[in-house]
């Protein structure tokens, strides 16, 4: 069975089926959307079961030529990094769609259809093994998200949507040119014209070319993440989007940029990554401090969570950019952790805002008394977000900081600030809203208590947090080989001691496969350079 292709096609089919469901028939819309998302979740679990943890390369690949004359192909598969992001997406989307179904906005079937389309984009992105397909899904994801903001967002939705789209498009179109340039420069170097990420690994670009190409990709990734100072779209998009969409943006779309860095940027352009390592790490550090400070002073819960995610993504980027196996491993783990925690935080904000009618932190207070279950859930999420020892995020942040410390102690020192600030702003939010004198509640806090429907959304996320906190090895074990393989070329380029380099790097083209004089430089991908 082409499981990975099915994973992408099932939500697509459900989204298209929703087009035929009339807007008034909310029951059927719910049914189609839930079964689509549920089936996708089941498929992703099947893929996890069949996944071979001992291999670091893409597996379960499906390949179908699309436009063979220019080397475009449908090529999807999973490796140790993407499998977890796929699972994260299917889980969070299932929960998000449950939440959306519970309070379906006007024109519900269109809303659900667009949600499923954005799931298609993300899943496709996390599984594509071809650079052009990667770009296709990268853009594909933008359209439904933009329309979700435009059609169901707050009062400033038009401006928010356009800011979001234009920021992203500038980055991604430059990425398109970079993709084409990569393939053409690689053709000059190796003699085969291909967009397959696998076959582009190890291509000996010149130092300048590698730097420029890496920069071209990183611009797009940095905007999507967002990395400071490319976060201009973030406050507007997060505040104006419907809350479910804002949660998905923070939990999943931000991972697209990190994933791109790990899957395309660093492995394909080790030289360029090395040259730009310090600048990008500094941007990430600024993002950590700046995002934390903004979160500290944020007026609304939503902005606080949004800015905190700017800081957390800084951590994740830092973990990758120091080229340390431990740091990179921590980044992967933290991507998953952050996805779950932010989604849970948005779920909490959703319930609080719905019950109390406001998202302003200062207008709420003392709600814990009337809503004990809410208080428990909120506290758990707060603790996870500030990475208290014993929480899931602690493991990830510890890995990252340990890895960063091993390479550049000064960076770790600055990054530590982020951990401290996280405690400050998260506890400020929790304390103001849940403790102290009662404020902004008409029914003594009972209106923000978790209902059964809210619990269905929140409890699975809390369970996953506990799972990762108790047994992080279940994730680390599956991803470490792919992580080692992803950063090994950059480690060599940066001249790290061989003891730290855990994966072998095969030159491309391998000595046995150098082009012979007279070989056609274009044409189909020759046998891959990887064993």
């Amino acid at each position: 069975m082409p499981w990975v292709s099915l994973l992408i096609l099932v939500p697509l089919a459900a989204a298209l089926a929703l087009v035929f469901v009339p807007q008034e028939d909310r029951r059927r819309a719910r049914l189609v959307a839930l079964s689509g998302a549920g089936l996708t979740l089941v498929i992703s679990i099947v893929i996890l079961v069949m996944f071979d943890r001992s291999s670091g390369v893409m597996q379960m690949t499906d390949h179908l030529d699309w436009i063979s004359s220019v080397g475009l192909a449908w090529d999807v598969g999973v490796d140790g990094i993407s499998i977890w992001l796929v699972l994260l997406s299917t889980v969070i989307f299932s929960l998000g769609i449950i939440a959306a179904c519970h309070r379906l906005p006007e024109r519900g079937s269109a809303f659900l259809s667009l949600l499923l389309l954005s799931e298609v984009g993300l899943l496709g992105l996390f599984t594509s093994g071809d650079l052009v397909l990667f770009y296709v899904f990268w853009e594909f994801m933008l359209v439904p998200f933009a329309f979700l903001i435009w059609m169901w967002g707050g009062s400033e939705r038009k401006r928010a949507g356009f800011t979001f789209v234009v920021y992203t498009m500038v980055g991604s179109l430059i990425m398109l040119v970079t993709i084409v340039s990569t393939a053409i420069l690689a053709r000059d170097a190796t003699g085969q014209f291909t967009f397959q990420i696998q076959d582009l690994r190890g291509v000996p670009f010149s130092s300048t070319a590698s730097t420029l190409l890496f920069a071209g990709f990183v611009l797009a990734f940095a905007i999507k993440l967002p990395l400071w100072p490319f976060h201009g779209w973030l406050p507007m998009a997060y505040t104006q989007a419907p809350i479910v969409v804002a949660g998905l943006l923070a939990a999943l779309m931000s991972k697209a940029g990190v994933y791109g860095l790990m899957r395309v940027g660093v492995p394909l352009f080790p030289e360029g990554a090395k040259n730009l390592m310090i600048p990008i790490a500094i941007l990430a550090l600024i993002g950590i401090v700046y995002g934390s400070l903004l979160a500290w002073r944020a007026a609304t819960m939503r902005l606080l969570v949004g800015y905190s995610s700017l800081a957390h993504l800084g951590f994740i980027v830092l973990g990758i950019m120091v080229f340390d196996p431990m740091g990179a491993q921590g980044s992967v783990l933290q991507m998953i952790n952050h996805g779950i925690v932010v989604a849970a935080a948005f779920a909490i904000v959703m319930v609080l805002a719905r019950g109390s009618g406001t998202e302003d932190i200062d207008r709420l207070g003392g709600l814990a008394k009337g809503a004990p279950r809410m208080a428990v859930a909120f506290l758990i999420v707060t603790m996870a977000a500030l990475a208290i020892p014993g929480s899931n995020a602690f493991v990830g942040e510890f890995f990252i900081l340990a890895g960063v410390f091993r390479q550049y102690a000064w960076m770790a020192v600055i990054a530590m600030l982020g951990v401290i600030f996280a405690a400050v702003y998260m506890l400020r939010m929790y304390q103001t809203i849940m403790n102290g004198p009662l404020r902004g509640a008409r029914e003594g806090g009972r209106e923000v208590e978790l209902t059964r429907a809210d619990a269905i959304v929140l409890v699975p996320m809390l369970a996953l947090m506990f799972w990762i906190a108790i047994w992080p090895a279940s994730l680390v074990g599956g991803s470490s080989r792919s992580v080692d393989r992803a950063i090994a070329p950059a480690q060599i380029a940066a001249g790290r001691p061989p003891a730290q380099i855990a994966a072998q790097v095969i030159p491309n083209p391998p000595p046995s496969h150098l082009p012979l004089p007279g070989d056609e430089p274009s044409g189909q991908a020759a046998p891959g350079a990887q064993p």
């Binding site: 436009i67 220019v70 296709v136 359209v143 789209v165 179109l173 398109l176």
Partner: protein, 482 residues
């Protein structure tokens, strides 16, 4: 002499003449539609003829008319554009009571476009351009009772006349330089005589030709007429100008530059490249502020001409191939958009303004969907055909060491997203409560047919891009073949 190659031309001219004669015959009842039916039959016959001629190059009139893969492919595109135009004006032809003349002029313009792309000689090419221009001057002004329409016709006439004058001057210089007017002859002269290149006379000839054709393709800085004319002309005619004329003009660019003067490539490469870059930037920025949808589509058409010119500027087989694919994609995207505009214009008086589309998609989901797909594709969102075309064009630019052109194109496309998506968003936003009640008309079948066919084609061209690209490559190869 082998006259078979000219058959499509004969058929179209005959259909035009018949339609024109029918316009003086009083027709009643069912026969009222006879001119249009003649036109449709003529176009269909031409389409069949081009399929029958498909294959190796055939020539007629001593090589003045060629039928090779390139000319036949472009003829197809032009015929589809003409067919779409007739379908868009099926219910209410712009000149009510002048069905015969209207149809005949559309057919004549299409014949002129066909003549341009099948020409093997500068003179024939010029004849084609004149034929299409003169017919379009009249068509623009055919709603003579509307001041706007008259104004459009007059503006087009004046600027068009300047354009053709400059063009013929350029042709004359080129002829003076090489001593021949046939494309193959010019090609041979330029490739054998190295010292000819970079001579002031040749450079002047090239510059003048670029200017002349630039007027027709509405490339910047020769684009000033476009928004006014597009806005004033009857909408089906605007659609025809936006698609058919553009195809003919870009086809002429291909024939003259990538084809005939290939030997002088260094002389025109940067020139056309810069024009492409300016055109993309000005077109996309100009479109940002438009409130009228036809004006917006006019600026969008300017910007698209810029993308298309990338394919000419690189001067390679890859560029020509990408260009041909993008032309086909451009035809269906633009036709789909104009079909929706025609549908809306029937219902409200200010159907021309973007705001009149507010909430239209909620009332007619299919129309809204077609418009959304057309806009997304024009903006270059994957996986639609507009994306594939841009991808190929940018790829050709990078491949030919013109990466700067691809980067300008990429940034310009990022700008374009704003105005294209604005239309798509307006289509689906809620209708303001204070909206006037308006008449709701049934969407005419022919127009809906065009809209849906084009909408499906936008997606289909992307999924089955491979066979289409094979066709385009075959066509591009004949261009560079001796």
């Amino acid at each position: 002499m082998n006259a078979v190659a000219g058959l499509p031309l004969y058929i179209m001219s005959a259909a035009a003449v018949v339609a024109l004669v029918l316009s003086v015959v009083p027709l009643k009842g069912m026969l009222r539609r006879l001119p249009e039916v003649t036109g449709v039959v003529g176009i269909l016959l031409t389409l069949i003829m081009t399929v029958a001629l498909w294959g190796d190059r055939q020539e007629a009139f001593h090589g003045n008319i060629r039928a090779d893969r390139l000319s036949l492919l472009l003829t197809w595109v032009i015929m589809l554009s003409a067919l779409g135009t007739l379908a868009l004006s099926w219910r209410e032809p712009a000149g009510t009571g002048r069905r015969g003349e209207y149809t005949a002029l559309v057919l004549l313009a299409a014949t002129g476009m066909m003549l341009v792309v099948t020409s093997g000689d500068l003179i024939v090419l010029f004849l084609g351009i004149e034929l299409l221009s003169v017919s379009l001057y009249v068509l623009c002004a055919i709603e003579a009772w509307r001041e706007r329409s008259l104004e459009a016709g007059l503006k087009y006439l004046i600027t068009g006349a300047i354009g053709t004058a400059v063009l013929i001057y350029g042709f004359a210089l080129l002829y003076g330089m090489t001593g021949t007017t046939s494309f193959s002859g010019i090609g041979e002269r330029l490739s054998e005589a190295g010292p000819l290149t970079s001579q002031p006379l040749l450079v002047a000839a090239i510059a003048l030709i670029v200017v002349g054709l630039g007027f027709k393709a509405s490339a910047v800085p020769f684009h000033m007429w476009t928004p006014d004319v597009y806005e004033g002309a009857p909408t089906p005619i605007t659609a025809f100008m936006a698609t058919g004329t553009k195809v003919a003009a870009i086809g002429a660019f291909l024939l003259v530059f990538t084809g005939a003067t290939q030997g002088a490539e260094p002389d025109w490469r940067v020139l056309i490249g810069s024009i492409a870059a300016i055109t993309m930037v000005v077109g996309n920025v100009g479109a940002l502020l438009q409130t009228s949808i036809t004006r917006m589509l006019a600026y969008s058409g300017i910007a698209q001409a810029g993308y298309l010119l990338i394919g000419v500027a690189v001067g390679t087989l890859k560029g020509a191939e990408a260009l041909l694919y993008y032309l086909i994609a451009y035809l269906v995207m633009t036709m789909a958009a104009f079909a929706v505009v025609v549908i809306r214009e029937r219902e409200v008086e200010d159907g021309d303004s973007i705001s009149s589309f507010t909430g239209y998609g909620r009332r007619h989901p299919w129309v809204g969907l077609v418009m959304t797909i057309a806009m997304l594709s024009l903006a270059g969102f994957p996986p639609l055909s507009g994306f594939i075309g841009k991808f190929l064009l940018f790829g050709a630019a990078v491949d030919a060491d013109m990466t700067w052109l691809a980067i300008v194109g990429a940034v310009a496309s990022a700008v374009s997203v704003v105005y294209y998506l604005r239309v798509a968003v307006v289509m689906w936003s809620p209708v303001p409560d204070a909206a006037r009640p308006e008449k709701v008309l049934r969407v005419p079948g022919a127009v809906a047919g065009v809209a849906i066919t084009c909408g499906v084609a936008v997606v289909g061209l992307a999924i089955w891009a491979s066979p289409v690209l094979d066709l385009c490559r075959g066509a591009a190869e004949t261009l560079l073949a001796p």
